[in-house]
């Protein structure tokens, strides 16, 4: 499958995402400079993590106006898969492809740590290789990952099973202490109503090799790959 990894000025996880997709998962990938508009050749697009435009003003606030974002919106409207990791998630919220917003972590500190994620909905393009309730060990790395949405939006997200991952204890229970950032209802990752745009704060690309501490991130990428190829998961 062909992945486009979108790079804004200030993006800094593009090499990691590229490494995971190509070196570990054996997929085709190439970088998409934020001024490019042509996404036709890709089966899926990943907005990689980092600090686009320095995170100045608000995370994702400036990147959302990049030319590539129009194409990403069209790509998504055509039903193709879009994944926003960390800063990518923040951008997708700013541009309105995903509901809600990401606020400063409740404790006000940047946080780089391992977290446990409970898979809330295993029947999606992004989680098909997981089982419901499965706990994935994936690190977070952000200063603003505190998910916020107004009560109506939150209710809708829950109703439509759009919440894909919640921070949990290693045994799978969702407790306030398990959240690294004070996120509403421990939300770590969500998708849009159409089910083809996902944003998540944790970094699955950092958890694709056991030597790095976990290979659980592969469940997420393998889900996408098998959704795209229509074949069974390989994990």
């Amino acid at each position: 499958m062909r992945f486009g990894v979108v790079v804004f000025p200030g993006t800094n996880c593009e090499m990691d995402t590229y490494h995971a997709l190509t070196q570990v998962l054996g997929q085709d990938a190439s970088y998409v400079w934020h001024q490019d508009r042509d996404l036709d050749r890709y089966d899926a697009v990943v907005l990689a993590g980092g600090f686009s435009y320095g995170d100045y003003l608000r995370t994702g606030a400036i990147a959302r106006f990049s030319p590539v974002m129009n194409s990403v919106a069209e790509f998504a409207a055509a039903g193709k898969l879009v994944i926003g990791i960390c800063n990518g998630f923040q951008i997708l919220c700013e541009v309105g492809l995903l509901p809600g917003a990401l606020q400063r972590n409740a404790h006000l500190q940047f946080r780089c740590d391992w977290t446990s994620l409970r898979v809330e909905n295993a029947g999606t393009a992004f989680t098909g290789s997981c089982s419901a309730g499965q706990v994935l060990r994936v690190p977070v790395n952000h200063g603003e990952g505190n998910y916020f949405a107004d009560p109506e939006t939150l209710a809708e997200l829950n109703q439509n099973h759009q919440v894909l991952f919640r921070y949990c204890d290693p045994d799978g229970s969702v407790t306030p202490g398990a959240s690294p950032n004070g996120s509403l209802e421990n939300i770590a990752g969500i998708m849009n109503t159409a089910g083809n745009v996902m944003g998540l704060m944790p970094h699955p690309e950092r958890a694709c090799e056991t030597i790095l501490g976990s290979a659980d991130g592969r469940y997420i990428f393998e889900s996408v790959i098998s959704h795209l190829t229509g074949r069974a998961a390989r994990v």
Binding site: P9, F65, S66, P67, E94, G100, D150
Partner: protein, 103 residues
């Protein structure tokens, strides 16, 4: 004509403000008791060239909506007045975003 707008961006009611709460805590820790609440927002000074005050106002309103605030959690208000500030040739790191061509 040059105008200067002062844009105040504040969090919507009901949106938690961890920074504000932290300041409340710090204020208390310093021994001040009568500070029931602190909310932290942004104060953005925007200098705009406009044919008229109305034109300038319209522009700031647009900027406030499009970029300076995020309607999911924030609101903004602004005041605007003619400015006689002498600005350093409008450059600075500015070029960054321009040249990298945010649309």
């Amino acid at each position: 004509m040059l105008f200067k707008a002062e844009v105040k961006v504040t969090l919507k009611k009901g949106v938690l403000d961890p920074q504000g709460s932290a300041v409340e805590g710090a204020v208390k820790a310093l021994g001040y008791s009568g500070v029931p609440q602190v909310r932290i927002g942004k104060f953005i000074e925007v200098w705009v060239e406009g044919a008229s005050e109305d034109a300038a106002r319209e522009m700031v309103q647009e900027l406030g909506k499009k970029i300076l605030s995020n309607p999911v959690m924030e609101t903004f208000t602004f005041s605007l007045a003619p400015s006689s500030d002498r600005l350093v040739p409008a450059v600075g790191a500015t070029e960054t975003a321009t040249r990298t061509g945010v649309k």
